[in-house]
Symmetry: C2
Subunit: 326 residues, 2 copies
């Protein structure tokens, strides 16, 4: 039996950890679509998932022999305490640091996967002595909107610990564009009941993943080549604003091209999009271009698509030769 092929791992999910006064992220590259310039990291909130694997764990399954089992409860302690000693300023950097530490501490661990998801805390305001509204450095707004996420898979090799995969992500970015969106020209047959629509209020949910050409750029040690989720978000909304969308498919393709154009240090961007376009309830409001909408019923449509540097070249050529339709 091919033991190396069998599914075998264990770990801990929902490891929550908050650190106050982590080193700020400063000095990232500025882009036209975004005012983002850094993160103060006064509250750095994370939800971590760790998954470890190694052949030495087999007897814990087949024999109930726990002698090499690192209790998942101890994994939680390990992660939380390492947040105290982490000296960088990004999620990407932190999970790399913890992954290394797991491999170095426990010989029976052959590989480790970590996902770190941001628990967002946004700025609030307070009044200063001149009755001006200022950004508070004490009170923060916990938020349930989009959040950044980083994942890493590392493996013990002969000479050193190697990074197998690394990726950064923004999840659950919800954007509505109130007009300027069509969906027409699709296949019509006996299964089609949807009419062609030249103007819909397009509400999308996006997950966007990006991968660096040089993995080292992902950790934020050199802020100039770090890509912040906040900037990716601002590019997405900016392209959505600029474009008359003929479909979600085309929209995500063009967002991908723009991200790769702004950040040449990235090799590929991957999208998962969902369509949550509102349903119209009141179509005609006298003397107004407004309408009333409600949440759509299920089901929801989705798309998955990756854009690479090569697409960017094609897209630029089309734009240069004046064939860009929009």
């Amino acid at each position: 039996t091919n033991q190396s092929e069998r599914t075998m791992s264990y770990g801990k999910g929902d490891v929550f950890a908050y650190r106050t006064y982590l080193k700020p992220l400063e000095g990232v590259k500025q882009i036209p679509e975004s005012n983002f310039s850094g993160r103060n990291n006064i509250v750095f909130g994370l939800n971590v998932k760790v998954e470890i694997a190694g052949q030495d764990f087999l007897p814990s399954f087949t024999e109930g022999d726990n002698s090499l089992v690192v209790a998942t409860d101890s994994m939680k302690n390990f992660i939380q305490r390492h947040l105290g000693s982490y000296e960088g300023s990004t999620i990407e950097g932190f999970i790399k640091y913890v992954g290394e530490a797991f491999l170095n501490k426990y010989a029976q661990i052959e590989s480790v996967k970590l996902i770190g998801e941001e628990i967002p805390f946004h700025a609030t305001t307070h009044s200063n002595d001149n009755s001006e509204a200022m950004e508070s450095d004490l009170v923060f707004n916990s938020s349930r909107g989009e959040r950044s996420q980083a994942s890493i898979e590392m493996k013990r090799m002969e000479q050193r610990n190697e990074v197998i995969t690394q990726s950064s992500k923004i999840v659950d970015l919800q954007l509505i564009k109130v007009k300027g969106n069509s969906f027409t020209g699709f296949v019509r047959d006996e299964y089609t009941t949807l009419p062609y629509d030249s103007n819909r209020p397009l509400f999308i949910h996006l997950n966007i993943d990006w991968e660096y050409e040089e993995e080292e750029d992902a950790y934020g040690n050199n802020p100039q080549s770090y890509v912040a989720a906040e900037q990716v978000k601002d590019i997405a909304s900016s392209v959505f604003h600029e474009l008359d969308t003929p479909s979600i498919q085309n929209l995500i393709y063009l967002i991908g091209c723009r991200i790769l154009k702004r950040f040449p240090q990235l090799g590929e961007v991957t999208f998962q999009s969902q369509n949550h376009t509102w349903e119209t309830v009141v179509d005609d409001i006298p003397n107004s271009e407004g309408k009333v909408y409600t949440e759509p019923r299920p089901p929801f449509g989705f798309q998955q698509f990756s854009v690479s540097k090569k697409d960017l070249q094609n897209n630029e050529e089309v734009a240069a030769s004046g064939k860009a339709s929009r």
Copy 2:
């Protein structure tokens, strides 16, 4: 650029479809751990996800050209109407039927993935003329507990449509065993705060996947070689009842061995388990072995493990030679 490697697909999730009076599932093999003998299918409820792929969809992304786009709204209609014409009696069979139909209807679809998840409706009782409680054939209890799920991936080939992967599953099976569970003997070091525990109320959430050696057995056309999720559930609870558990790792291994023993038509069983063991609030109740517990706080531990026929042989040999500890 390697176009065949890029992520590119789209589809529809949460396609709900209910069919009354689908053909009953009868004639499944009986096993000692279970009273299950069939499903009347008077209410057959499904949540379907469909994902389609094909190189012909590329211009819909890069150019906004929708001429080959099957609207995801039409996919919903397609699935729901095919539930009306399906003549079999299982989820596995239905999604195979729909997958074939998609490939046959639309030449631009190269491959299709479908997931069908049961929306459970359980039996209720009514009183008959002799004041006896009888099973109702009209009223059913919609339930949010564990449910079965099937998935399939199909691809258009030169000669015919081919099944790439097929699997059946039970998801979110929640089982508590009130005593007879220990977790001791694990690694103790500076990261360990969990004490050895010789008796814990072990609460687990399980997803169990099974794969047939002959894919054709999965669809239920020959009920004798079909494995019902209800039977897998009963094996899991039965093994849990019988065993003094030293860990979740060992428990899932032994459940896997039993499933493969009862159903030689299966090749592999894969587990995803989560530990949701209650926290003790009142330890000592006078004149009772009872205690009071509450939901655990996060995080939760998890395991992933697959068991194959080869393990079954090893396990039987150990048992035969009298070395089985439990």
